[in-house]
């Protein structure tokens, strides 16, 4: 009877969220040049200016966390591209899925939801023939997200080439370069991952 009660209590304890994942907003802000009064960080690298808005955090039912962050590429004083990073973390702080949505020069892009990949199955024969490449699920997930993002950008920029641009558009609107935007988003994603703790 006593053992039953102990096992019941232990089971209930196992059902409780075991150490919720946390996010260090200050640390992220510090690595992005600091948050200003409007909760926005302004920074630049590789001659390109960006701004990141303070992420919004919500708890998932399983004790994990959903993080949404807006990253803008700034050109000629205004946002040439506006992108939203949507990241889902498990209760252990592991990145489970990622999605990038954005608007670049009037064109919408969406990578779709990319889930954390499973480790590839390697047979004993393959393993003995050649040691398998080290598999890191988070890195693979990030790579998949940006392969999808680059594909979407190619499509968007390809469509834009067919558009007609009048003189005022040519002078006063700006191009968001694929490489700059991809670099900025990747920079933000890596810093966000460093600020997530279990």
């Amino acid at each position: 009877m006593k053992a039953c009660w102990i096992s019941l209590i232990v089971s209930c304890l196992c059902l409780l969220p075991s150490g919720a994942v946390t996010f260090d907003m200050k640390s992220l802000g510090a690595s992005l040049n600091g948050w200003d009064n409007h909760q926005t960080a302004h920074y630049s690298f590789s001659d390109t200016h960006y701004q990141t808005h303070q992420p919004t955090l919500t708890r998932t039912p399983s004790g994990g966390m959903f993080l949404s962050a807006q990253v803008d590429l700034i050109s000629k004083g205004s946002a040439a591209a506006v992108c939203h990073l949507g990241l889902t973390f498990s209760s252990a702080g592991v990145l489970e899925s990622a999605q990038v949505k954005g608007t670049i020069s009037g064109k919408s892009i969406d990578t779709g939801l990319i889930r954390r990949p499973d480790a590839p199955q390697v047979s004993a024969a393959e393993e003995s023939a050649e040691p398998p490449r080290p598999f890191h699920a988070t890195d693979e997930l990030i790579n998949e997200v940006f392969v999808a993002f680059d594909g979407e950008m190619e499509k968007a920029l390809g469509e834009r080439k067919k558009d007609r641009k009048d003189l005022i558009s040519r002078i006063f609107t700006h191009g968001a370069y694929k490489a700059d935007l991809s670099a900025g988003l990747r920079h933000n994603l890596n810093l966000i991952l460093q600020s997530v703790h279990d």
Binding site: S105, D166, I168
Partner: protein, 439 residues
């Protein structure tokens, strides 16, 4: 539960599991776990051959511009759920033209050659109006014209177009009949400073009328009746009027890399009032003398039958319009217009050329003006008469904001022959410069 007791249960279960399996595979594709090309689809049943989709043509869009929000302010009200008025917008069109040149008139008989100054700057068009979408199926347009003299300025348009169903519509009020490619094009979208000489000469004026339009596949037909009265404000019903018949076909040819869109049209007008109609032709030079040779015009040109056919083609940066016109009445006149254009810088600089030829066997049958306008209905002083006309135009349009704000410049060379008349041939080199603004 014994499956043998219910013989249909097993196949239903198998089908359900099978469809669930396909549904699960679809979910895996959406979630990124599998790729679509890795899924094995069941074979299509026999006889379910899928035909290739009809080629469609989407014209290039205009890139977003900082001026978009300013132009959007012309829409004063927009509510698609309102049962009475869904949209109210103000409209405007301002066209300023300048011309610099000289018309050289040949010597004939004892009359020495002379030159007529073609220099001038004019507000070619100045319109303000409104556009209303009402009752979910009716578009009402009203435009007031402030340019020109008292015979030209007034109510340029006051019409409504009601959609009877998805493919049929009725247009009524004071509006312009459909005739030739240039006359059917709204003035703000003309590629050249003005329409060709023959179009301006024979096209009927906007007047009171009613027209039925029907679409069927890639065809569009129109049949209408218009009054023979011409009034700068509200025309009345005068005489028997004229009947207008139109047909138009749109075709799309697609290759691996590009698409060609073409529109072929044919228009016919029967003027039942003959030379008593005030709307065919639109101007009055009767009893006046031409600037080439001081030749007296005893009667205005009048036409009982008008015919035009042509084609417009668009492909990537290129477009081309060709029109043939013929008018038969107290004189017979005919002509062609060929207008190629090319986006040198897509959306910004368009190169435009036009060759126009008009001819008649009757002396003095062709009536034209030269300078800021070739439309005698707008400004008929001075005007010239002849029997053969050639015009060459080459210019460029600089699009500041879409097709709504542009600068245009070009050089025109006109040859007017008067072989069967008094022999007062004329030719002119004219430089055109203009600006257009519309909303």
């Amino acid at each position: 539960m014994k499956l043998t007791k219910y013989p249909l249960v097993l196949p239903i279960l198998v089908l359900s599991v099978g469809s669930l399996a396909h549904a699960n595979e679809a979910l895996d594709v959406l979630e990124g776990k599998k790729k679509a090309e890795d899924i094995n689809l069941p074979a299509a049943p026999e006889g379910s051959a899928v035909s290739a989709p009809e080629p469609s043509y989407t014209p290039p869009a205009w890139s977003p511009s900082p001026m978009d929000s300013l132009w959007a302010k012309s829409v004063l009200f927009q509510d698609d759920a309102n049962p009475y008025i869904q949209q109210l917008a103000i409209t405007g069109f301002f066209d300023f033209q300048a011309a610099f040149g000289e018309v050289n008139v040949d010597r004939s008989g004892s009359t020495p050659k002379n030159s007529v100054d073609a220099d001038g700057t004019r507000t070619r068009r100045a319109r303000l109006g409104a556009r209303i979408r009402a009752f979910g199926n009716t578009d009402i347009e009203a435009n007031a014209e402030f340019a020109g003299d008292s015979d030209y300025s007034g109510i340029e348009r006051l019409s409504a177009r009601t959609e009877l169903n998805e493919n049929a519509s009725l247009t009524y009020g004071k509006f312009r009949p459909t005739f030739t490619t240039e006359y059917s094009t709204e003035d703000e979208f003309l590629l050249t400073p003005d329409r060709s000489m023959l179009t301006n000469m024979i096209a009927p004026s906007q007047t009171l009328g009613i027209r039925y339009n029907q679409k069927w596949k890639d065809w569009e037909y129109g049949a209408g009746w218009f009054s023979g009265d011409r009034d700068p404000n509200i025309p009345g019903i005068q005489g028997n009027g004229f009947i207008s018949l139109n047909a138009r076909r749109t075709f799309i040819e697609s290759s691996d890399e590009t698409k060609l869109r073409g529109v072929w049209h044919v228009d016919y007008i029967n003027n039942m009032d003959g030379n008593t109609s005030d709307s065919i032709t639109r101007y009055n030079v009767k009893g006046r003398r031409s600037a080439n040779g001081n030749q007296l015009v005893n009667e205005n040109p009048s036409f009982r039958h008008l015919f035009s056919t042509g084609v417009t083609l668009e492909q990537d940066r290129y477009s081309f319009a060709a029109d043939f016109m013929y008018a038969k009445g107290n004189s017979d006149v005919w002509g062609i217009s060929l207008t190629p254009s090319y986006w040198a810088i897509p959306g910004t600089v368009k190169i435009v050329a036009r060759y126009h030829y008009a001819d008649s066997n009757d002396p003095g049958a062709l009536v034209t003006t030269m300078g800021t306008s070739s439309d005698p209905a707008f400004d008929d002083s001075p005007f010239y008469v002849g029997d053969e006309f050639h015009s060459f135009y080459l210019g460029a349009n600089l699009h500041l904001y879409q097709d709504r704000m542009l600068l245009m410049s070009g050089l025109e060379y006109d040859i007017l022959k008067d072989e069967t008349g008094g022999g007062f041939n004329a030719d002119a080199w004219i430089w055109h410069t203009g600006a257009r603004l519309s909303f």
